[in-house]
């Protein structure tokens, strides 16, 4: 190896190193820091007696939106409100008594099972308890 080749090699390695040293922090900078998620295991969402029959509301369970439904018979259901297809927020349809996603016409039953349309998976279920007329939802994972 002559001197020219040697110096070219050293410069090349140095150049690549410099490029890496410049690109790596930029790429890392672009990845957002993990936000400290509020550690929620249960959530009070209001009084059972105030909740209308055949209606729903969406609440935030930590950072996850959860749809809570009181059906015609007065049974409570809580499901992850994020459609398993493309992340839209679902809604309860009083007429069909089903969970519906308006983005791509995905349909789930009241237990979160995907019935029709593009959703590939059911909605995650949350446990609902009523203690002293207070509705409490709990993650099934915890």
């Amino acid at each position: 190896m002559n001197r020219r080749k040697f110096i070219n090699g050293i410069m090349g390695i140095g150049g690549l190193g410099t490029l890496g040293a410049a690109v790596y922090p930029v790429l890392e900078y672009l990845v957002p820091p993990e936000s400290a998620e509020p550690n929620v295991s249960s959530l009070k969402i209001g009084k059972f007696s105030d909740f209308e029959m055949n209606s729903s509301k969406i609440v935030k369970f930590g950072r996850i939106p959860v749809i809570v439904v009181k059906d015609e018979k007065g049974m409570m259901h809580a499901l992850a409100a994020t459609c398993t297809h493309l992340d839209c927020i679902v809604q309860y349809r009083k007429d069909a008594k089903q969970i519906y996603c308006a983005c791509h016409n995905g349909v789930y039953d009241i237990k979160g099972r995907n019935l029709s349309g593009p959703p590939p998976k059911p909605l995650e279920q949350y446990a609902v308890k009523i203690i002293d007329d207070e509705i409490i939802i709990k993650s099934q994972k915890s």
Partner: protein, 360 residues
């Protein structure tokens, strides 16, 4: 034109910077005249609309404030309180849509007249990249008013990015600035829309325009075969440029008409806990992809429907971009005009799916 070339100013500059290439362009550039000449004007119209985008975009920047609690409010201020704010926003939105429309027309006219063939392969590739960047402009700009429709369109759009194999989840995280679409996403989209995309777009645009000037207008096959005395040309300057300018004026009046009489709705402010509104639709130029994804079943073979859709459109886009490099070896295929038929199928698919999406 000649008087400009003889002027003192031009000579002063010429003696210092050697303006021969510009002189050559002014004196010698010619545009062929034939039954397809009209298509030569489409790129120019797209360029004109891009200039309007830059101008109105800069004006909107004077009042727009990105942020979860300020974006919607600042756009509302622009359209309700700022003098002619509504006009500037309408112009920006309408001209964006027209720009994408003319870019599509320009691309398909180049495709069907086979103007992408050697030696213009890189002009085609850069043009295709400009269209993709134009659509990225549309997608990122759509979120900036922080309204309900934009919020869900962005949720869906970024979730689709998440379906890309291997790097999808990371890309989604980087685009959203977190797990969900939040104010962090808005900040990133604003940066992408107002800084990153304009920078990349301008570079590729300069390359695209330089290629066009360097190689001149493409002549269709039938025109090339004409005997020299039957070939008609007009000079680029001033004849073609003046016609170009006239068409720009017509497009400008049409744009003003749209901006005056068809308001661009602001809608409701985005709410992360509200269900997606009924009849949510993306911008028309994403409709054919949106509709196709809607029709796909949850699973195709062993992969999820949306992943299949994303892979299909990415692959189709790549093939389309590389079309000038595809050589058909069999003469049978060449005679049957396989490329043209493919183009017709693509146009029919895009138009058909778009109409279907709106009728549903």
């Amino acid at each position: 034109m000649n008087s400009f070339l003889d002027s003192k100013t031009f000579n002063w500059l010429d003696s210092r910077y050697n303006l021969d290439p510009i002189k050559k362009l002014i004196l010698h550039k010619k545009v062929p005249v034939h039954k397809h000449t009209i298509w030569y004007y489409m790129g120019g119209v797209t360029l004109f609309l891009f200039m309007i985008q830059v101008f109105t975009g800069i004006l909107l920047l004077m009042y727009y404030q990105p942020g979860e609690s300020s974006a919607f409010e600042s756009v509302r201020l622009i359209v309700t309180k700022v003098k002619f704010g509504w006009l500037i926003r309408n112009l920006h939105s309408w001209s964006a849509n027209l720009m994408i429309f003319f870019a599509f027309v320009h691309m398909f006219s180049v495709f069907f007249t086979k103007a992408y063939e050697k030696p213009r392969e890189l002009t085609w590739v850069s043009g295709f990249l400009l269209l993709v960047l134009g659509m990225a402009f549309g997608f990122s700009g759509y979120l900036l008013p922080w309204n309900e429709l934009a919020f869900f369109a962005t949720k869906v759009g970024t979730d689709i990015v998440g379906a890309v194999p291997f790097v999808g989840e990371e890309l989604k995280l980087v685009l959203r600035g977190g797990q969900d679409v939040t104010g962090a996403t808005l900040s990133r989209f604003f940066g992408i829309h107002a800084a990153i995309l304009p920078a990349i777009f301008t570079l590729i645009l300069i390359f695209h325009l330089l290629m066009v000037q360097r190689q001149g207008m493409s002549e269709p096959e039938f025109f090339k075969k004409l005997p020299e005395n039957k070939k008609k040309y007009i000079s680029f300057l001033p004849d073609f440029a003046l016609r170009d300018f006239l068409l720009w004026l017509i497009v400008f009046y049409f744009l003003i008409f749209l901006a005056l009489f068809f308001q661009w709705d602001l809608g409701l402010k985005a709410d992360a806990l509200a269900p997606a509104p009924q009849g949510i639709k993306p911008e028309w130029y994403f409709m054919f992809m949106f509709q196709s994804l809607k029709l796909l079943p949850p699973h195709i073979w062993f992969i999820e429907g949306e992943t299949f859709g994303v892979l299909f459109f990415t692959f189709a886009g790549l093939v389309w971009m590389l079309v000038p490099f595809i050589k058909l070896k069999s003469e049978k295929f060449q005679k049957r005009n396989v490329i043209i038929i493919t183009g017709i199928v693509v146009v029919a698919f895009i138009v058909g799916m778009t109409i279907y999406g709106y009728l549903e």
